[in-house]
Symmetry: C2
């Protein structure tokens, strides 16, 4: 049986593991499905932050320091836009603007978001299939103590400061998985939950009708990698969200969130002591070096994930 | 009677004289009406090249070498867009993009083009009123030996190479002058035809219903400044267009084009010998230093134009 790995990813953390996977798997054995609940329209341009983070990372173009955006980026357009009275809290770099200009143009020409993503990836030399979770507009909204905020308003403009009460995915109820996502769900022998935020990166993907059930019933080996190390998020608001939503900020809480969806949970070496808690959830706990600071550690973690999920398949490569 | 100067302008040449006028007149005594037949949509953004040239020039932001665009501009977005397979023959600079993003957003919000222009000018500290000729979409189309080309396709993409047969202004027939233009037509004591291309900068303005008649019947002193020196255009395709349309490439041909619209024609010192030909057209010929290489020569020409048009008004200042 031919191996196919489906990775579910959000932004920075997901992109790192996706990069590792892309370095050890042939392009036709990997599909990366990306959250689009973070998408929004700025200045009339369709911006897909997570798709771009994954795409730029796999193209070797991303800013290594911050994990998103382009290396060597400039911000002349935003600086000028500020003078002109435009809204600039979502700072789009000059080169990055080209992606949004081109994507918006392709969408206006009738491309689906998945087709536009394929076109952009092809131009950037990314051979692995990166697909949005859906071609339909789904918008993550964060219900906070200050009211319901569109995701980027919460995440960028308000710096995740307002306390979160709940999260919803507007439009998800009538969305369908993108065809390339659906196809990968059928073919996957391994499903990887990347170390992304479970609430705002993975849950939007699971909110697409049919996706949760198909993963629950999948014959694939299903493995999640913790986005929490030593009780703290490697990046982003997942720790804060966990506590605001009534959980501990821990790997165990994330594993609990994935119960029924995953067979294996990879927790960090720093959290090895929590392995029994995770096993008690009915998952196999695997201790791994999950902090990905350089390409070598991304590749090592990807290899470990594949190794653990399907030793036979990995050995057959 | 209070003095009011209405200047009709296209891009670079018009902007130069407009700058000179703006330096010697109080802001409430000058209206600059600008051709918008060159406007087009690139990547979903409304681009108004002549408005921007005049605006940037009066804001002191324009690239002095080329006369259009912004000083110190970068082109990261276009460079990246080229990689991404977008059309980039109309190269929009990174800072310049902010103008088009903001204008497009304002238009979507319901601003007229004149209102959007006022807002942008206010943000850039330009006190003089700069107004588009109309708020309606008018598009200059050039009928060439290679077929009918949208203006920017002819001007930028094809570098004015195809022979011109005729020029039309799509949408002009149902357009109305922008309110601030119409108001200035009522109030003008001096009307200045800037040294812009008569066929593709001034004619579109004259093509707005009622404008030509109102200028023909105006009580204002009407003076045109030649865009031709020594038989050649200072900038742009006016010389080539004159010959392709069956005229001489000369100041006299331009003056002939303005017959009935102008009382005074300012020709360059290099063409002083043509003064009798121009007088024979029923205009007063004035010989001036029309080449504007620096701000001092722009101001000097502006002063000369006002002086010649209305010596009484100028002396009263």
């Amino acid at each position: 049986m031919s191996n196919h790995v489906l990775a579910l990813a959000g932004g920075v953390g997901g992109a790192k593991l996706a990069l590792g996977l892309s370095r050890i798997l042939p392009p036709d054995q990997l599909t990366i499905v990306v959250n689009t609940g973070d998408d929004d329209v700025f200045h009339g341009l369709h911006v897909s932050p997570d798709l771009d983070t994954v795409m730029y990372t796999l193209a070797g173009l991303s800013n290594r320091e911050q994990g998103w955006g382009l290396e060597g980026e400039t911000f002349s357009a935003m600086d000028r836009l500020e003078v002109l009275g435009g809204e600039t809290w979502f700072r789009l770099g000059d080169s990055d603007l080209a992606t949004h200009l081109r994507r918006t143009q392709l969408l206006r020409q009738g491309f689906t978001l998945a087709q536009a993503t394929s076109e952009l990836c092809a131009r950037l030399g990314v051979a692995v299939r990166i697909t949005p979770m859906t071609n339909a507009p789904v918008r993550t909204q964060v219900e906070t103590e200050d009211g319901v905020l569109p995701f980027q308003e919460y995440f960028v403009h308000r710096r995740c400061e307002p306390r979160v009460r709940s999260i919803r995915f507007k439009g998800a109820g009538t969305a369908e998985p993108a065809p390339s996502f659906s196809d990968a769900l059928d073919r996957a022998t391994i499903i990887v939950f990347c170390p992304s935020n479970p609430f705002v990166s993975i849950d939007p993907i699971l909110a697409i009708p049919g996706v949760r059930r198909r993963i629950e019933n999948a014959g694939a080996a299903r493995i999640a990698v913790t986005p929490i190390i030593g009780g703290r998020a490697v990046k982003g608001p997942v720790g804060k969200m966990l506590t605001e939503l009534g959980h501990d900020s821990s790997s165990t809480a994330v594993a609990t969130h994935y119960r029924g969806l995953c067979d294996i949970f990879a927790l960090d070496e720093a959290d090895a002591a929590a392995a029994p808690e995770i096993e008690a959830l009915g998952m196999r706990a695997v201790v791994a070096a999950t902090l990905m600071l350089d390409d070598a550690s991304k590749i090592a973690l990807a290899r470990r994930v594949l190794d653990v999920a399907r030793p036979d398949a990995v050995n057959a490569r």
